[in-house]
Amino acid sequence: MAQDAPSSGSIVVADWHQCKDSKEYFSKILHKKRRKNFGLLESPVMPPHVAVDTVHYKIFISGKSGVGKTALTARLAGLNIPNLHYETTGIETTVVYWPVKLRENGRVLFFRLQLWDCGENTLRRFDHLLPACKEQVDAVLFLFSFTDRTSFDDLSNQIAKWTGTSVKLVVGTKFDLFMHCDVPERDVRDFQETWNLRVLRVGGEVSDGLGDVAPLLNCLAENLWHQDCVTAGSANRRSQQDTGTLL
């Protein structure tokens, strides 16, 4: 179970993407008003006088087939969200860069979040995939769908399997399909209390691109950063200058 997860907005500036001083950072992850797709050899480049550290994390996305893992990954990265359900037949990772401002000292960091999405049916067919996803993982997002009760009921089982990883978030997908909602608000509240885990909600049309994903990405960044501070006792452990990959 997550020990004393940081309360929302206590570590990073919430809604920083709406502040003026964030413009020059967010502009680096945008291209023609859309999110920029970075190849592995690329990363956001700031002018030389604005040194920004990039911190790397590996995040696994867990949840049963059709719950919306691939859709959530695409949403968080600003990629096209698939309309149809095509099973993911292996591991696909997606990189999301996200600038964050720390409350404590006003320091800005680029979070490089690599999301690991593996199709649930394939995961079961091939034994080697789950260990690959678990290798050096920093956080797990547990997905359930508001339209699928069994996916919600299965959460406790899923969470119990990941004892080693301490950053855990729960994401309810298809929140937009309220007509078919199968998981009442009350159950979600009970769950949060029992497990002491945040439950975030996603779904619906992608609006302006950033406001849509900011709460989830900030929450994830906050938890990861907090976790690092706890384990290392120092906020600098994970920082690494990305000299090798700057273009």
């Binding site: 797709n37 970075f38 190849g39 592995l40 050899l41 690329e42 590996k58 990954t73 695409a74 990265a77 990629l79 096209n80 095509y86 099973e87 037949t89 292996g90 591991i91 696909e92 990772t93 997606t94 990189v95 690599q114 999405d117 199709g119 049916n121 394939t122 067919r125 091939f126 080697h128 995939l129 690959a132 290798e135 050096q136 090798g244 990959t245 273009l247």
Partner: protein, 437 residues
């Protein structure tokens, strides 16, 4: 058979033994169950009489093609006709297209699920569920979405000839070796730009299929993948790992691996060290775009479209020029999309009538004798045709073959027919001289 939309293809998959439907794909309007049953029934009836039904044509110009794979799965393709329509389009052309489609669909199914699961069916419901994981690739085959990709048809790898091939070759070789693999491949704009020697020894349809998989993974925008894949010819029962990395948007490298290295390790330790020094080379490669040929190759202005196949290497390059500067006095040039279509049709036309096929069709000799794509009269030839041309209302087409190459070329109608041969030979020698292809 006018129940399907004009020009669309529907694919049916059933168990061969009992005709249980496993899935249907394609065409927005599905064929009614009774029709599916009849299609299966008539094939079974033939089987009972010792006849293998492989293709038939309907009154409305539709076509049905049947094929049973490994005695376990039957695939049926139904097309509503209206494909092609060019002067060179014949029923034979459509038949070849559908036969090819069935072969490719079967290969996709093996690639994703492995042969054992398909041939040793214990639980039909489970197979049905597992088959869903093949739909991405199968739908891609049915839609033939990407213009300029002809590998599904030619079973030659769609290639891009980079301006600086030696550097990329070295990097692919080194990267594959570091990843404990002999099979590595760099794909730019969905086309193979460099690959290890062993990659080219994979069966031609495997090379084409893996390219298709790479294209679909690349299109999703993901950064890296670890995909279990069975090789339909080389390893149909044991899965390998396809590790793929997006170096730059549009440029992906992949390796076929055993149990190690892990995706995490390959990505964090190998990708940067091998490829960061080549970022500019990769960008130059991306810059040549879908023309597939370096800028050093100048193309004659009266060439509309080219498909060039290296027969031994089983690779092809192709491109279509964006139609420009046409005079009002001349008939309008076919659109780019239409040129791609015409190029495909002319390819099938030439290879089913005149040119040697053993290089480009991946069927075994027995199968070939059985199914005979050649029209009868060509078998009566005592010699091998080397060149052929065709003039239709839309364009002129010229094909030529040498021991090394096959070239298919489209020109506007304004080019005099007697000049076609010179234009074709010149184009071939220009490309070969500049690129060594």
């Amino acid at each position: 058979m006018m129940m399907l939309q004009h020009g669309s293809t529907q694919l049916l998959c059933l168990t061969a033994s009992s005709g249980v439907p496993l899935f249907t794909r394609g065409a927005s309007k599905q064929l009614p169950f009774s029709v599916i049953g009849s299609l299966n029934g008539v094939h079974m009836f033939g089987g009972g009489q010792g006849v293998e039904l492989s293709c038939c044509e309907t009154e409305g110009g539709g076509r049905v093609v049947w094929r049973v794979f490994q005695d376990s799965v039957m695939l049926i393709a139904v097309s509503a006709g209206g494909q092609g329509g060019a002067g060179c389009s014949s029923s034979k052309v459509e038949e070849v297209r559908l036969q090819r489609l069935l072969e490719n669909v079967w290969s996709c199914m093996v690639l994703v699920l492995g042969q054992d699961e398909l041939t040793d069916v214990r639980n039909v419901e489970r197979l049905k569920r597992d088959l869903r994981s093949c739909f991405t690739l199968i739908d891609q085959l049915l839609e033939e979405r990407q213009e300029g990709i002809l590998g599904h048809l030619t079973h030659c790898a769609d290639s891009l000839l980079p301006p600086n091939p030696a550097l990329l070759q070295e990097a692919v070789d080194g990267f594959a070796e570091a990843a404990e693999s002999e099979f590595g491949c760099l794909v730019v704009h969905g086309r193979v730009a460099a690959a290890t020697e062993k990659w080219w020894r994979l069966a031609p349809q495997e090379v084409v299929l893996l390219s298709a998989l790479m294209r679909s993974l690349s299109a999703s925008g993901s950064a890296s993948c670890d995909y279990p894949v069975f090789l339909p010819k080389g390893s149909p029962t044991v899965a390998h790992r396809l590790l793929r990395f997006q170096l730059l948007p549009g440029a992906d490298v992949c390796v076929l691996c055993g149990p190690t290295p892990s995706l995490h390790r390959a990505q964090s330790e190998l990708v940067g060290s091998f490829w960061t020094p080549l970022v500019e080379t990769l960008r130059d490669c991306l810059a040549i775009g879908e023309r597939c040929l370096p800028g050093s190759v100048s193309m004659r202005p009266d060439v509309l479209a080219v498909l060039l196949i290296n027969r031994e290497a089983r690779r092809s390059v192709s491109f279509v020029r964006t139609p420009t500067n046409h005079l009002p006095s001349e008939p309008p040039l076919p659109s780019k999309a239409r040129c791609w279509e015409l190029l495909k049709l002319f390819y099938i036309f030439s290879t089913t009538r005149y040119f040697a096929q053993e290089e480009t069709l991946s069927v075994s000799p027995e199968e070939r004798a059985q199914r005979g794509h050649h029209e009868d009269f060509v078998l009566g030839f005592s010699h091998q045709p080397l060149q052929c041309y065709l003039v239709t209302e839309e364009c002129k087409s010229y094909g030529l073959q040498t021991p090394q190459h096959q070239l298919f070329l489209l020109t506007p109608l304004s080019v005099p027919t007697f000049a076609l041969r010179t234009l074709a030979t010149q184009t071939l020698s220009d490309i070969v001289a500049a690129t060594g292809f």
